[in-house]
């Protein structure tokens, strides 16, 4: 096993009487695109702030690239990039000036700086607007520039905190593509969002945070596998004894009667469906509706926290 790029052990943080993080532990492997999912107020931004050196934890420990990390470790901060939840660019500087400034802060200079700025502008699709002031950009372009500012110095570990908040679909796709490209190029990415579709689409491993507590942290299939697969069958009219026949079908693990039909729990919905259809034809039952229910992150979250993600 390679040494984790990021290791979080029992990190705690309070803001007055409010507990933001109640002992979070997780690890991110090199080259991973790691998702941090949670509703607003779950503690994602606080955790990212600690991990990127913006603030110190009250307790616990963080290790970056195998070394103990806190705000005093400027050498390690140099290896990290952060795409903040709120925009953090200068509206009165041009896109190029913004990137050049942040690049210089991380020690880039001369031709290296120039080429990095050009590459990054191209990667986020802002080359044509490079010399326009950021204040004149649309919301999506500002988001892309914000992401570019986080990666212009070529960090090894990138934290992206809700990078698609308030952006149009075009910019969102741009950001997705760029994040995937960065990860493909070897950059480790920690991606936080409260949009499960984004995390589900991008991340291989996902941590679910709620109320300052880590509820789960695993690969997507493993998380989904924590939930069963069900199909709901609605019948035009009740059929006597049909529940017993269903229970005897291969692949049907559990059958539960509902108001107008049955819920069948199975290992494989595609294998179960033709068997149920054949049984219905044989017994003269008319199926009015079939509702397959695959496990989703939404359901995983509901399962873990007892509430909807967007509550």
């Amino acid at each position: 096993m390679p040494e984790p790029v990021l290791e979080v052990v029992d990190v705690r943080k309070r803001f007055g009487p409010n507990v933001a993080l109640a002992g979070v532990s997780l690890a991110v492997e090199p080259g991973e695109l790691f998702g941090l999912l949670g509703p607003n107020g779950a503690g994602k931004t606080t955790l990212i702030s600690i991990l990127s050196g913006l603030t110190n934890a009250d307790g616990g420990g963080v290790r970056l690239f195998g070394e103990r990390f806190d705000r005093s470790r400027r050498d390690l901060r140099r290896l990290v990039g952060i795409g903040t939840q709120d925009l953090s660019i200068y509206p009165d500087l041009t896109a190029r000036e913004n990137l050049a400034f942040f690049g210089k802060l991380y020690g880039l200079s001369g031709n290296t700086l120039e080429s990095r700025v050009d590459e990054t502008l191209a990667a986020v699709g802002l080359t044509e607007r490079a010399n326009d002031r950021a204040g004149t950009f649309s919301g999506g372009m500002k988001r892309r520039l914000n992401l570019a500012a986080a990666v212009v110095h070529g960090p090894k570990l990138l934290f992206l905190d809700e990078p698609t908040t308030g952006v149009d679909p075009q910019s969102r796709n741009h950001i997705f593509r760029h994040v995937k490209a960065l990860n493909a190029a070897g950059m480790t990415v920690v991606y936080t969002s409260h949009y499960m579709e984004e995390v589900q689409a991008l991340c291989k491993r996902i941590a679910i945070l709620d109320g300052g507590t880590l509820r789960a942290c695993d690969t997507l299939p493993n998380l989904l596998n924590t939930l069963d697969r069900r199909v709901r069958f609605r019948f035009a009219a009740p059929v006597a004894g049909f529940e017993n026949h269903l229970t005897e079908l291969p692949g049907a693990i559990k059958v539960t009667a509902t108001e107008s039909g049955f819920d069948v729990t199975t290992d494989s919905i595609p294998e179960l469906l033709p068997r149920v259809m054949a049984l219905a034809a044989e017994r003269g039952a008319t199926i009015a509706a079939i509702e397959p229910r695959e496990p989703t992150l939404e359901r995983v979250f509901l399962h873990l926290t007892g509430r909807e993600l967007r509550d």
Binding site: L54, R74, T84, Y90, L93, F101, L105, G107, A149
Partner: protein, 542 residues
């Protein structure tokens, strides 16, 4: 290096911030211009309640030396003016300058002594005829100045002030002209020409009135009695008329005297015998020589409170003469300056440093907004995440503010010189440390305010309030010289006051006190350091 990167970025942002440019560079210029025009040219000059009389002296003086005056008559007049209570005399070098000053209303009136003033003054006399021809300068309203070669250039828009100056001049001229004319006239009383003129007039009195001859009787009697007793007369008689007749006359002398007396006492006889005699014949040249001075003495005795022989007013009225007050006499100094406004630079010697100091501290707003903007745009978080120390971030922000403040200070002083025509004093080199130290104090205060304020509104409220209150307390809004001493001392709790004192030394004092300037600079640096330390302690970058 990161500090310079931060500084360059903030400097770029400040330069692109039109709001700051207006506040720091344009507003003070406009205020200086408007206040300069509103307060007038005299603003900033030391208050002097005395009436200013301005003169141009073109007088050539007297061509020949004489006992009085020993100097040109114009100097006599100027001495009298400058010795007058509550008057200060200003000497303007040329008529053209005087005309320019009057034309633009800087002077209500200017007296011009023409080149022939002394020569004309010398000819003033009560005489009708003389050589050279006399000048009678006295008229209904006093002295006719034009007759003396004295011109009053007056501003018609300031008639009252001009009239006051004219009346003061009239009084002085009367004090100078009247004694001179009286003295010269009195010299003539009883002199040969005067007595000859009297005799000539008396010659017209013919026949001599009998009473005159009758009144001569006692004299005639005394003469006859003395003659009769005189041995030489007896010898003369003996020689001229012979022994016998001389004995007869000698014995009958008393009888002859009585006869003569009776004849003199007879008016008809006197009228008859005096028929061919003119009264003026009595006033022979010898008599006139004797009588003339006695006439003068008699007049002098009659008016003994005055000395008619005097040539000055003090001598005429027999009082102690006044010393010319040279302290109240000044040479005209062109204070309009070299700026293209060319409208009285003295006021700008006060206004420019005042507003340079006050607006240096308006940096509070720009710096405050810079910090607030960094928070508002979220970039402060990115700076904190970057491999920078807190000190690097703060110094990176201080540097461009200091650069802007220095640029502002030097810009306003340069504008003061170029536009308003102020001078940089005798030690312009020392303006550099004063500008630098003032900027250091201003930047310190600005960063301190930025460490307290969290929003643009807070910056505007705290900053404006602080700048205006400190400006008022320190004397930036008015000349510090006009402040009560207690307030002046109390104002030293502000950095503005120290800066203003240093500027006052450099811009208003021809011999600036370098020690005082060094002290002020030290205090300003201390202010800057304390404010910066407070900001360091108070600044929350999270």
């Amino acid at each position: 290096m990161p500090i310079l990167t931060l500084a360059a970025k903030d400097l770029r942002l400040l330069l692109r911030d039109a709001r700051s440019a207006v506040i720091l560079f344009v507003t003070p210029l406009v205020l200086i211009l408007v206040l300069g025009l509103a307060l007038g040219e005299g603003f900033g000059e030391k208050p002097d309640e005395r009436l200013r009389i301005s003169v141009v002296n073109l007088d050539r003086g007297l061509t020949t030396k004489q006992a009085f005056p020993e100097k040109p008559w114009s100097d006599v007049v100027i001495d009298d003016l400058s010795a007058t209570q509550d008057i200060r005399l200003e000497v303007i070098p040329t008529r053209e300058e005087a005309e320019r000053l009057v034309a633009r209303g800087s002077r209500a009136a200017v007296l011009v002594f023409e080149p022939d003033f002394s020569e004309r003054m010398n000819r003033t006399s009560f005489l009708t005829h003389d050589t050279p021809p006399p000048i009678n300068p006295l008229g209904r309203d006093g002295v006719r100045m034009g007759d003396l070669g004295l011109q009053l250039i007056a501003d018609k828009t300031q008639p009252v002030s001009a009239a006051v100056i004219e009346q003061v001049t009239q009084v002085t001229l009367l004090r100078v002209v009247i004694p001179w004319m009286i003295g010269r006239a009195f010299e003539r009383v009883g002199d040969d020409a005067f007595m000859a003129m009297v005799a000539e007039r008396l010659m017209a009195v013919k026949p001599v009135p009998p009473q005159v001859l009758q009144e001569l009787d006692p004299v005639v009697q005394k003469l006859l009695a003395a003659l009769m007793k005189d041995a030489e007369f007896a010898a003369l008689m003996l020689k001229e008329v012979g022994f016998q007749d001389s004995l007869v006359i000698g014995k009958r002398g008393p009888e002859f005297q009585r006869v003569v007396q009776k004849a003199f006492q007879n008016p008809k006889m006197m009228a008859r015998v005096g028929k061919e005699i003119a009264f003026g014949e009595v006033l022979t040249p010898a008599v006139r020589r004797e009588v003339g001075p006695k006439v003068q003495d008699g007049v002098a005795d009659l008016f003994s409170n005055y000395n008619f022989k005097a040539k000055t007013w003090a001598d005429l009225v027999k009082s102690q003469s006044r010393e010319a007050n040279t302290a109240s006499r000044t040479e005209y100094r062109d204070t309009s300056g070299s700026g293209f406004l060319n409208r009285g630079a003295v006021r700008y010697q006060v206004l420019v440093p005042s507003y340079t100091v006050m607006f240096a501290f308006f940096l509070v707003l720009s710096v405050g907004w810079l910090f607030v903007a960094e928070r508002k745009h979220g970039t402060l978080a990115r700076l904190r995440a970057a491999p920078l120390t807190r000190g690097q971030i703060l110094i990176g922000k201080l540097l461009p503010c200091l650069v802007v403040s220095l640029a502002q200070g030097f810009f306003l002083l340069a504008a003061g010189y170029v536009i308003f025509g102020m001078t940089w004093g005798t030690r312009p080199d020392l303006l550099v440390p004063v500008v630098i130290c003032t900027s250091a104090a201003a930047v310190g205060l600005a960063v301190f305010v930025a460490s307290i304020a969290r929003t643009e509104t807070q910056v505007a409220v705290y900053g404006t309030l602080l700048v205006l209150v400190l400006g008022g307390v320190s004397g930036s809004l008015m000349p510090r010289d006009l402040m009560p001493e207690q307030m002046k001392s109390a104002s030293l709790v502000t950095p503005h006051a120290w800066s203003l004192d240093a500027y006052a030394q450099l811009l208003a004092n021809p011999n600036p006190d370098v020690g005082l300037i060094a002290t002020a600079c030290g205090v300003l640096i201390a202010f800057g350091a304390v404010f910066t330390l407070l900001a360091w302690w108070r600044m929350d970058l999270e």
